[in-house]
Amino acid sequence: MCGRILESCGKIDSGAKKLPQKDALALMPIDWKAYEPGSFFDELISSPGYPRKPARVLAKYLASLSDDELKRRHDSVQHAIRTMGISFTVYSEAGNIDREWPFDPIPRIITSKEWETTSRGLAQRLHALNAFIHDVYNDGKILKDKVVPRELIADSGNYRSQCQGMKPKHGVWAHVCGTDLVRDADGKFYVLEDNLRVPSGVSYMLENRTVTKRVFPELFENYDIQPIGDYPGCLFDMLASLSPRKTNRPEIVVLTPGIFNSAYFEHSFLAQQMGAELVQGSDLIVDDDRVYMKTINGLAPVDVIYRRIDDLFMDPTVFNKDSTLGVAGLLQAWLKGNVGLANAPGAGVADDKVIYTYVPAMIKYYLGEDPILPNVPSYLCCVESECDYVLKNLDKLVVKPANESGGYGMLMGPRASRKERDEFALRIKANPRNYMAQPLVALSTAPIMANDGVEPRHVDLRPFILQGKDTYVTPGGLTRVALVKGSYVVNSSQGGGSKDTWIVNEEPN
């Protein structure tokens, strides 16, 4: 099943044998023979004692470290994360806490051969999604041709009628996309969802690499790892390509909801890395349909806004009237073509779990190509025959609402009680448009350094794709790990952590 489930799945048998009890904080030397991924696909180890070919050097190296040495590396990871101030914010009743980023030092390895295909698949997908969004807000051809039912658009919580007829530069609406990939037991990547609104996590991907370089510098001699450090530069170039003004140095700003947002670290990090201004709504003002920022020199025009606040909070004159985070008049300035907005308002119309099921059809329709990356098989409750199947097989399926994110309002069929399933069936019947169902994906695992040695944990992968004038896909992405044994929950706020992800160019010797 997917990485968003908010319940603990502690009962799933990971196949790991009970290891001898050790002192809580003592690390022992790594023994790969004691590592059992069970029936899941493991990213590094094919069966106990047998690392996959690209992981052999890594596995051997880790096994060669003494317990003292392991402890030292483990401590230096914690130290690096603390000093670098890599943190995320947790909301709680006692106030917002800035927590250190949980990180596991054993990298995940993917071969460049596999990644080459995956990366093409991701770019293909985003091209089709952008063609779709542009079509929806303009000619509506795909709706006229009945490839995607028109009523799905009208009912979508992320459709913004104000954007109808808008033609943003390059015809692109979703400029930054975070696509969640999962690997099933068959070892194949499947697309779980496309995040087209304000996807986050890329700063952690970059910082994870920095930490790994500090902690395991030796490994970088033996592996040819594709660098990821040019992401901020690519993001800057993409944003610059959206500037309505022809200028060598467009003024680009990152719009953050502020320091209390859980992704503030990332907003600040990206602004710093791009050399862009980090602004809040109160730093901007719209005058005569043009956007300015308040500077010590007076008002300075803004060309492109990389906004990290939701559509609905962006402009209180159009959307949420009570929003103090946004800028009055911003939407109008964008509609007039006076400012570039990434991602464009309304792009979320394609970030919908029901629309998701049509992405393979969109790829065929707009690009005339076969989809390179498969979706997780899905059943739509608004299609009568599929809805029947869902209702009859609730105990085998995971049912998700179309517009919610963060795993809210979903049913984990295999683990739900009879009563819960019956109640959920009523909800589906009352509003079939709002639901879709998928079989449980047996997420792949990767080894983490646990107190008792290396143990398998479930992972997913979020690569980031940029589209403006050109398209760029990160080599790898953010691997998120469910740090709790047996859990499928990879969210950082729920005990999730992350790993560095390596795309290695060839097998090391």
Binding site: T83, M84, G85, Q272, D283, I285, T295, I296, N297, G298
Partner: protein
């Protein structure tokens, strides 16, 4: 540069300076008390006076004794004026300007905070205290060195420097105030103390100079034995010693000249300078410094006020100029300020 960011880096500079000064003050004051006779009645309460925390300290009903006062001034997370509190504010200002602060400087800001959180309680013992405070002073100096050596010396840097000098001028004026306790019967509650303290006058002034790291600089320049009048003149008017108020004001002008629309602030600095240069120090020392120090501090507060009005205040309150204004000045206003 964004007005909101300018304000934060200005405060970053102020807090960084405040942390260093507070550490110097507590350190030297501890040293000085060891030099004075036990019967001098010169207590730890003066530290509470200098830092302006009297009301809060009274409210808490804490006793006027060494450990409590030092804990309150160094390690109390609830006291925003404590060393720990200032370091926290400094880190928050750095955290919210990370897009401007060099990445390795941010790591140092962060480390200083993390270290202080763990070790602040060491300040309760006299031995641990000196080490801790000297470490903090060293860390602050290293941080400024790092900023000076790796940041563009642009507007952001100018705001840090201005913040730093406003804070420093203010602190030096407070230190002059400390020195004057040896001269002022009005300051002490018991006239007998004056008699007791008089022979120690020079010890106190020497410690004031040490606190500001200026003993050597003073000896090289003034060449007199350490005495009240010379020290006060040196600390108020000298334009070469970096902790003298004269220097701070001169340096502010240097950085203000890099900023747009700076006239009102420059005028405020000129007014403060007039207060220091026109002071008749020998007669002031006869009459008492209290009123003079007040006047001086008000002139510093005016500088801060003008900075606020000119650059930090949200523009809608300042009535942004109409967009269609044709004046050439407005054209300049609208140019993009890149950092």
């Amino acid at each position: 540069m964004l007005s909101s960011v300018a304000e934060r880096v200005y405060w970053l500079g102020r807090y960084l300076e405040r942390v260093e000064n507070a550490a110097r003050l507590i350190n030297v004051y501890s040293q000085m008390l060891f030099d004075l006779p036990t019967g001098s009645h010169l207590g730890w309460g003066i530290l509470i006076d200098i830092t302006g925390c009297n009301a809060d300290y009274d409210r808490l009903g804490l006793p006027m004794e060494e450990k409590q006062i030092v804990r309150y001034l160094v390690a109390d997370p609830k006291n925003p004026a404590s060393l720990l509190g200032s370091i926290h504010m400094m880190r928050e200002n750095a955290r919210t300007t990370r897009e401007i602060i060099p990445a390795d400087a941010w790591e140092h800001f962060n480390n200083l905070y993390l270290k202080m959180k763990e070790t602040a309680s060491q300040s309760l013992s006299r031995r641990g205290r000196q080490q801790l405070l000297e470490d903090v002073i060293g860390d602050c100096q290293r941080l400024f060195g790092l900023l000076a050596g790796s940041m563009n010396h642009d507007t952001a840097y100018a705001f840090i420097q201005i913040g730093r000098k406003v804070e420093r001028a203010d602190m030096t004026s407070r230190m002059v105030d400390v020195g004057s306790i040896s001269l002022l019967p009005a300051f002490t509650r018991d006239t007998k103390e004056r008699v007791i303290l008089e022979p120690y006058e020079n010890v106190i002034w020497m410690n004031v100079l040490r606190c500001l790291g200026g003993y050597q600089a003073y000896r090289q320049k003034v060449q007199h034995a350490v005495g009240g009048e010379e020290v006060v003149r040196f600390l108020l008017q000298d334009e070469e010693f970096p902790r003298a108020i004269g220097y701070c004001l001169k340096d502010m002008v240097t950085y203000l000249n890099k900023l747009p629309n700076n006239q009102d602030v420059l005028h405020a600095v000129a007014r403060a300078k007039k207060v220091t240069t026109q002071a008749d120090i020998s007669s002031l020392l006869q009459r008492g410094l209290l009123d003079f120090i007040d006047e001086l501090q008000i002139s510093f507060a005016d500088i801060h006020e003008e900075l606020n009005n000119t650059w930090f205040m949200p523009m809608e309150l300042r009535k942004a100029r109409p967009a269609q204004s044709q004046s050439s000045d407005d054209g300049r206003q609208r140019q993009i300020q890149t950092i």
